[in-house]
Symmetry: D2
């Protein structure tokens, strides 16, 4: 019973079917196919504003390519100290930007507080001896499984824009947040000041595809050249685009996310006071103590320690395709 990560999940049948459906004929490559051509329209409809959307195959690529167009080689990228950019991309942000440097901020439950960020900016030296503030990157959901509300994002974005920074959102679990908040996708993105979004699909049922969504078309600039030179332009591009189209179509994204979220809520209830963070997506963080953790593992549950083993903390991630009986078993184990 694996609660290791939602990237252990399988691929939604709808996605597999979409791959089969486009598998005919000799089709123009490198984004010059009819499915890729539909991405801008599909995402514009989804977000309720005119956007540009580009497919890439990995989440790190989506993040790092977003930064490549937003951050100069001497730029500072502000992010939460537990952000994926810092902890799980092996330096990709610095590499793709040609030198951009992460500036890490603390924040409860994985969120950067608007006051923290504005104070940081205010105190930031104003000379050319230090990397220059360029981007604020917010994770949605955060690495603690929590969600930024629209007002927080707007406050953070206002600070950022006020000093000329751009706002990036790492939306690896974006669908889970929209499903949780019950908001419109535009509410927590462009309406709140987000400039570029890494729109995740892989964790939530796709095989391997994310979209980089530009809410301000003029920011696209040389994105396509960066995508090519980083080897992230796929020749058989139809097979990426088709996944994204199927993901949006018929609200597959929402059904998958809602299912995982619902299970996460059940687990959260079972965990009770052991919860470390509010559960606002499909991840549950618990402090159980080393002994109960051992017991859970002995009972066949797989998951990661969060922090050092002796802390007795764990992260439990629910996948879109998690069998309900595994969730039920986990509920039982947690309430036992």
């Amino acid at each position: 019973m694996r609660f290791l990560s939602d990237n252990t999940a399988s691929v939604s049948p709808e996605i597999l079917a979409a791959l089969a459906a486009v598998n005919h004929g000799r089709v123009n490559p490198y984004g010059d196919d009819e499915w890729s051509a539909r991405l801008d329209r599909a995402f514009s409809d989804f977000f309720g504003t005119e956007v540009r959307a580009f497919a890439v195959a990995t989440g790190t690529a989506a993040n790092a390519l977003s930064l490549a167009v937003l951050c100069p080689p001497y730029g500072a990228i502000f992010a939460h100290q537990e952000a994926h950019l810092e902890t799980d991309e092996c330096g990709a942000p610095g590499f793709f930007t040609g030198g951009g440097q992460l500036t890490l901020l603390p924040g409860e439950h994985g969120r950067i507080a608007p006051e923290t960020f504005s104070a940081t900016l205010a105190a930031y030296p104003n000379h050319l001896h230090i990397v220059q503030p360029a981007v604020l990157s917010l994770s949605q959901a955060t690495e603690c499984g929590t969600a930024y509300r629209a007002e927080s994002i707007a406050a953070l974005a206002a600070s950022a824009h006020g000093r000329g920074l751009k706002v990036h959102m790492d939306g690896a679990r974006f669908a889970n947040v929209v499903a949780f908040l019950g908001c419109h996708p535009g509410d927590i993105t462009w309406r709140a000041g987000v400039d570029v979004l890494s729109f995740g699909a892989t964790k939530n049922g796709a095989m391997g595809v994310e979209a980089v969504v530009f809410f301000r078309p003029e920011l696209v600039r040389d994105f396509e050249l960066h995508r090519k030179r980083t080897a992230h332009l796929h020749s058989k591009s139809r097979y990426l685009a088709a996944q994204l189209l199927a993901y949006l179509e018929g609200d597959l994204w929402k059904r998958n996310a809602a299912r995982a979220n619902g299970f996460a809520q059940r687990i959260a209830r079972a965990a009770g006071t052991a919860l470390l963070h509010p559960v606002e997506a499909n991840e549950v963080f618990v402090r159980l103590g080393a002994e109960r953790i051992r017991a859970l593992r002995a009972a066949g549950f797989e998951f990661y320690d969060w922090g050092p083993p002796e802390a007795g903390e764990a992260r439990l991630v629910v996948s879109w395709d998690q069998p309900e009986e595994e969730v039920r078993a986990l509920e039982r184990a947690l309430t036992a």
Copy 2:
């Protein structure tokens, strides 16, 4: 009737079936799945020697990541002046190596002659004011659709190794060459001195996967860190590995390549004296004159000019799934 490129091709049914076959359960990500674990064995068997093999999703990634481990940031990479590294990767080799610089060599029919290379090395300055010779990269098949024979590769590799360079092979159409030469895959790789191979599968029936194959395990070094930091480590890695395994299994690679090669030979015979290069894979280069080229296009054939339009030269690429009637139509058009 598209003869634009083999990357317009669809995906082999066997590959799609393999994707569906692994689509169950929650499986460890990032290469820690059972299918990825089989790659070393499968490729070792294929090449007849112990190798290390890693899956990536694009050909440019395979090339650039190979170079990332073989070439220091102040290294020179020797390649043919028409090599994909130079003409179609938007600077990826320089980017992935942190500064490696291409040094381009001429050569008839897309091949670097061993004498050209050894003379270039002999004349290369021996001081630290210039980028240092680091890698020889050979395209197999070449950009002119020709094949290097084992003896040429061995001679080139001997020169390279003699001065401490490593030998990389860009095998985007490797299967077509093996099928054409009727040799063992080892004959034109490790037995001839190739150190690292970009083993192509995408053009020849896969959806989007290539293998980086190390014939000398000690060269793997930090490859996995480079793959991660360039955002080319896929989370749902089973879907890459499964493609490669299916590609090797039951000689799918050879059947697909042989079919395309066979069609290319028929087109070559039809082209007759218009041929610009020997046809040794699945590409046919012809000098037809601007008028016949217009006529071909008017008749519904799609293909790229080779060189400036006024040169009247064209590249015709046969895909593994090219309908025979399209080939027949092209034969007729060329012999008309």
Copy 3:
């Protein structure tokens, strides 16, 4: 009366004389001159062990080039959060290493405590999804004007070496520390486990030269290629080497440092309880309150606020050539 920084200082007459003394004849460039050839010997004698020493023109170059040979593009560089690497090099460490990322540590009085560092290393994730621990960089003197003792360095270096990291020392004010501690230069470098030192001279009387000193010759590796490709190999190299030789000769380094240190101690005594950090080099940090700071400035003293103006803190740096009357005036102003 400028106490802004020791890089406002003039050049020692001995250094100017040395430049004039080598100014004859046509001399081999690029380090192939007789003065550059003497650097290894001169620094080996200075440190009491066999070293390799290379001249560069700026402190940032010395630091960033040291890191370029010690840190891979996916490496983590541990440094104090106020280190020059972070606050005053505009991303040079990331740039010269091709992607190395700073990991910042807190620490009282500008020093990293051995326990902080060993705990950080122990908790550092052990997988390839994050930048890999590569270098520990210590500033000597620290950015707070304090000195690491030999035992602390040894403890820090032991932790670093135990996990395969290299130890770099940013010795922009190295001479001031040696003069303060009264130790042998080897005591706080190679004997304590430092692998590579940025040996500063510019702030302490040179015109523009620092030495990169390798205590383990095998680490030199491709340093000279990095120096060239970063444009830091000077053609008329004799004029860099001559400065360094003059700086070491007759203990010019120690006389200049001791003079500035002595003045700093006088200012420290005058500052009394306003001192923020122990004064162990030529910098004095004081908390005076905004009003006294204004008064000092009104009286003609120039210096930098330390932190935001409202904090009322200041940094006073004494240069090797500071006129004694300026120091006396400052003493009076502080004790008034």
Copy 4:
């Protein structure tokens, strides 16, 4: 008797005097000194138009930093195949631009013919799979010691600007060309379309300083950030600026250049039919045969072979401070 290179030369007494003259007081660092502040004015007067001018310490830094602001990481830099950028900078152009790639052009006597360049641009692919044309860099004097005339530069610049490229000039021996042509410095720079100039001084009498001169102020953009992050911003900046001011003052640049040029003309006349290239600066290229080259060396002359030793070709460079008796001796040896 050294004719190896003009970077073997000593420093003009006027330059040394200027260094001594600014050596007093504690002066603001990092370009915030009064001498650096005069550079814009001094160079604007020199060129007869409003320019921005920045001091750096090496010629490679001047070139690579010029390119850093003119060329994106996916840019192509067109240069002559013997350009210093290619043969003597160990990849600095690619490094400073974050990936810019040199595209090399042939050309007689070290010059790129306008037709060659315009034909190259016309044939250059117009898609995003290849590095994008960004900069044309011209060496003045060329690596063959010849000079571009204003009309050629204008024709080349017109082609470049017509496709959106910027024009850089590597003027390591710029003074020698102006002295040779007897033109105004503006004639072969901004009036002919040059956007940015690496203005050399080191080879012609300075100790170690070059100016990066922007003829279009809007191109300066983030130059200062690039200079800082590449570690080329000197703290004691007055000592760089003072050299440049002294170099321009009283036409020191012209006297030094004219002296070297005059000697070169005498050597050229002595060489007669052995000359390989017109002598239009301070370099003389001769084909003497291996035997006469050996004889010259036996007679005490030092110089570099040009090409492989068996070609019997040599480069003789005259320095600004070359003793006349050495020139006379060389004349005699060549006419013997």
